[in-house]
């Protein structure tokens, strides 16, 4: 069965009948030529973005930021400050848009929710034994349910990279599907599920393409590159391969899936390169916080600094922008 022939849930059931059938499908996807993919990503990175396009891109990037703190030393105070910043990134400029979400550990969800309320800024929680994913399944599911109960709007789960690299694709598929079920809320709704691949550990672009398809078949709302705890984290070529996957998935099923590069994107200039790639690879439909996010902690301030530069014509020092 070719990728384009995949159009109904029944097809997915057929593909995931056994480890062997799933492997056959994933290994039947067209390969990714490393040199070619990296060249294309580099080529897109040379687009020259000026004036009006840049103003638009900076504001859009701010709206796509999942402002993140995932440290052992996180305190409620820090999370409150971060949530406040997500709602009003630039207190000096009311025209500055809010970030998309605040991304925290599950135990901080309630604190973040308390500050964010109905502001429109979502709370995202990393769950499933983040960042390694090495825990028993019931613990991962409990972790997820805790976060959802505490009010998380979005769940960022990690996959079991060991299982994937060992070729136990069906296990990875089932874990994602189960976590997706655990995202259900009592009101009948569901938290959005972002599936983190940790592409730095999967190593090859072929793996990135396969895991993207695997996650989409298992019900991911978003596919995400990295935890931010492993280097290399998000890169342009990895994101390129994932954008091609969501584009091809929509061709095959009509469904749109979001993409989130996370980790290592610190400069506005780099964020704009990602937006160019989204625009030209997946298409302009993905230029929206519903379908593309940046997982970042320091990127926001550079976006704000460049935004102020566009408006005033000069740079202010880092002290003119809040820490978190």
């Amino acid at each position: 069965m070719t990728a384009t022939a995949l159009s109904t849930p029944a097809d997915v059931t057929e593909i995931t009948r056994s480890d062997a059938s799933l492997r056959r499908f994933l290994h039947g996807l067209p390969g990714v030529d490393q040199v070619g993919a990296e060249q294309r990503a580099a080529g897109l990175g040379t687009r020259s973005i000026k004036t009006t396009a840049k103003e638009y891109a900076l504001d859009l990037a701010i709206r796509m930021v999942d402002l993140t703190t995932l440290e052992g030393q996180d305190t409620p105070g820090k999370v409150r400050a971060l949530a406040a910043k997500a709602m009003r990134p630039d207190p000096a400029d009311p025209t500055c848009p809010a970030a998309a979400a605040v991304c925290v550990y599950p135990d901080m969800v309630a604190t973040a929710k308390e500050v964010l309320g109905d502001s429109g800024v979502n709370v995202a929680a990393v769950a499933t034994a983040f960042p390694s994913g090495r825990a028993a399944m019931d613990i991962k599911l409990a972790d997820t349910r805790d976060a959802v109960e505490a009010g998380a709007d979005e769940i960022d789960m990690v996959i079991d990279r060991g299982a994937f690299l060992a070729g136990r694709y069906l296990q990875v598929f089932e874990e994602i599907a189960q976590v997706r079920e655990a995202c259900a809320r009592p009101d009948g709704g569901s938290a959005h599920l972002k599936v983190i691949f940790e592409t730095g550990e999967l190593q090859t672009y072929d793996n990135v393409r396969r895991v993207s398809w695997l996650a989409m078949m298992a019900g991911a709302h978003f596919i995400k590159t990295s935890t931010g705890k492993v280097q290399p984290a998000a890169t342009l070529p990895v994101t390129l391969v994932m954008l091609e996957a969501v584009r091809d998935w929509r061709e095959a099923t009509g469904q749109m899936i979001g993409v989130k590069p996370a980790g290592g994107i610190r400069a506005a200039k780099d964020a704009i390169k990602y937006l160019v790639m989204v625009n030209e690879v997946a298409g302009p439909d993905w230029l929206d916080p519903d379908w593309f996010r940046f997982g970042a902690s320091t990127l926001l301030n550079d976006l704000l600094m460049q935004r102020t530069k566009m408006k005033t014509g000069h740079y202010s020092g880092p002290d003119y922008f809040t820490l978190d």
């Binding site: 070719t2 990728a3 384009t4 067209p30 390969g31 990714v32 030529d33 040199v35 070619g36 993919a37 060249q39 294309r40 040379t46 687009r47 020259s48 973005i49 000026k50 004036t51 009006t52 396009a53 840049k54 638009y56 891109a57 859009l60 091609e244 061709e251 937006l275 160019v276 625009n279 030209e280 298409g283 302009p284 230029l287």
Partner: protein, 478 residues
């Protein structure tokens, strides 16, 4: 496609180049007035007149050849390889230093996007001078002897004016020859800027002479009795005329002519990268590439999927102002060329092939043609046989590797080919069966000074680039 993210124009400044209202000929290290008429060179993107350029007549050609002969006998052939290398290295460095200026000028005069002149033409031109500078003092290791031929008459086309100049001049000078070079009549300006660079590099007078003009000037150069070597890149028709005119003389000739390359995509190919390679193969430089991948041979089982991907990708190509850094496809070089592309495309349509172009707005002035894909093409269609030399791709299908090879080789040309598959053994097997001078695997249109380039059959003879490129400028066995 309507798009929320419209990139604002990002034009490169033209202030960096100084185009003179008129240019003479560069003979014996100086610009001199020609005896003939003059002609105008225009910007293909706007039709604006850029400058007036002298048209060399037979007496001008004679003076240029004499100057080259004097420089050859008195100076250049007497220098050691190391001394010649110093000049070539100097030229290479000046090309890099003045790279932006050259890139802008090339883009204005030729119509190709600044992105390509900046990232491809100028760096590879400089690389050729660096590479052959390295050979100048090592010719005894080349396997082709160490004795130069004498005066080389070189004629280059309009598609890569500076790059073709570098391909021709660098090995000739490295081997100890002197040159008289004629750039194409529609794109003389970077060659004239190169003449200034020769002055800047203190190259001895007469070692490089640049004479501008059209076909008659070229014929006079080829026919001049004191020219020892003719090197030509251009159309097969002109190449044939040159071969006739030098037949029976002891002139050495290399010809690099047309092509109708097959780009073969197997069903196990990395499809997204193959799409990039197809785009790069036929839409790079508006398809004005003799080794362009103008025939796409795709395995039937993935044809539909690949074509969908290809059309979507081609829809994102940006056509327009060559000086805009975001432009992917610039202007067609001349009205004549545009007419030829239109004619052959119309023939393709009337022969029953399916014609497709993305919705794109073309500028009103200048010469423009949208990227175009013909599907359902068969070997019998003229668009599958004749070189269109424009952004027009013909798509054919095949079922078995043997059929792919058969179709790929079923052409009067044989300059280049491409293979796309994840299977290494298949790459090696097919590459050996293709009658083409260059075979790219999982990539296309890659050029490097260390790699020889040239054709089979009507694509010409002789090799340029690499160690093999020295052969055309040395007396073998001496």
């Amino acid at each position: 496609m309507s798009n929320v993210f419209e990139y604002a124009p990002a034009p490169e400044s033209r202030n960096i180049v100084d185009i003179k209202p008129s240019y003479g000929l560069f003979v014996n290290g100086e610009f001199v007035d020609g005896h003939g008429k003059s002609f105008k060179t225009i910007s293909p993107a706007t039709e604006e007149v850029l400058s007036e350029v002298a048209e060399a007549d037979a007496s001008d050609v004679d003076e240029a050849v004499k100057a080259a002969r004097r420089a050859y006998t008195r100076t250049w052939s007497k220098l050691t390889g190391r001394e010649r290398a110093k000049y070539l290295f100097r030229i290479a460095r000046i090309l890099q230093e003045r790279g932006r200026e050259i890139a802008v000028l090339e883009s204005i005069d030729n119509g190709k996007p600044i992105k390509e002149t900046r990232d491809v033409d100028v760096p590879i031109a400089a690389a050729h001078f660096f590479y052959y500078a390295g050979w100048a003092d090592k010719l005894e290791h080349s396997g082709y002897g160490t004795t130069p031929l004498g005066v080389a008459g070189q004629i280059i086309p309009w598609n890569f004016p500076l790059l073709m100049l570098a391909w021709k001049i660098a090995p000739a000078l490295a081997c100890g020859n002197t040159v008289v070079l004629k750039p194409a009549e529609t794109t003389p300006l970077t060659a004239l800027l190169f003449a200034e660079i020769c002055q800047q590099a203190d190259l001895p007078p007469g070692v490089v002479n640049i004479i501008t003009g059209a076909g008659e000037t070229g014929a006079a150069l080829v026919g001049h009795p004191d020219v020892d070597k003719v090197a030509f890149t251009g159309s097969t028709a002109v190449g044939r005329a040159i071969a006739k005119s030098v037949a029976g003389t002891d002139k050495k000739v290399t010809l690099e002519l047309g092509g109708k390359a097959a780009n073969i995509v197997f069903d196990d190919a990395p499809l997204d990268q193959a799409v990039e390679g197809i785009v790069n193969g036929i839409f790079f430089n508006q398809g004005h590439v003799c080794c362009a991948g103008s025939r796409l041979l795709v395995q039937e089982s993935v044809a539909e999927e690949l074509l969908d991907k290809l059309k979507r990708r081609v829809s994102t190509l940006r056509v327009g102002d060559p000086l805009d850094k975001n432009t992917d496809i610039g202007a067609i070089n001349s009205a004549e060329q545009l007419a030829r592309i239109r004619e052959l495309s119309d023939i393709g349509e009337s022969e029953g092939a399916g014609r497709w172009s993305p919705a794109c707005e073309l500028p009103t002035n200048g010469f423009w043609f949208p990227p175009t894909i013909f599907t359902g093409v068969s070997q019998a269609h003229r668009i599958a046989r004749e070189e269109i030399f424009g952004p027009v791709l013909s798509v054919l299908t095949f079922r078995t590797p043997a059929e792919a090879v058969e179709k790929a080789n079923n052409t009067p040309y044989g300059l280049s080919a491409g293979i796309w598959t994840e299977k290494g053994s298949r790459i090696l097997k097919i590459a050996n069966q293709l009658r083409a001078g260059v075979v790219w695997a999982n990539t296309f249109n890659k050029f490097d000074p260390t790699s020889p380039f040239g054709g089979y059959k009507e694509s010409g003879y002789g090799r340029e680039g690499g160690r093999h490129g020295l052969a055309g400028y040395l007396k073998e066995g001496v």
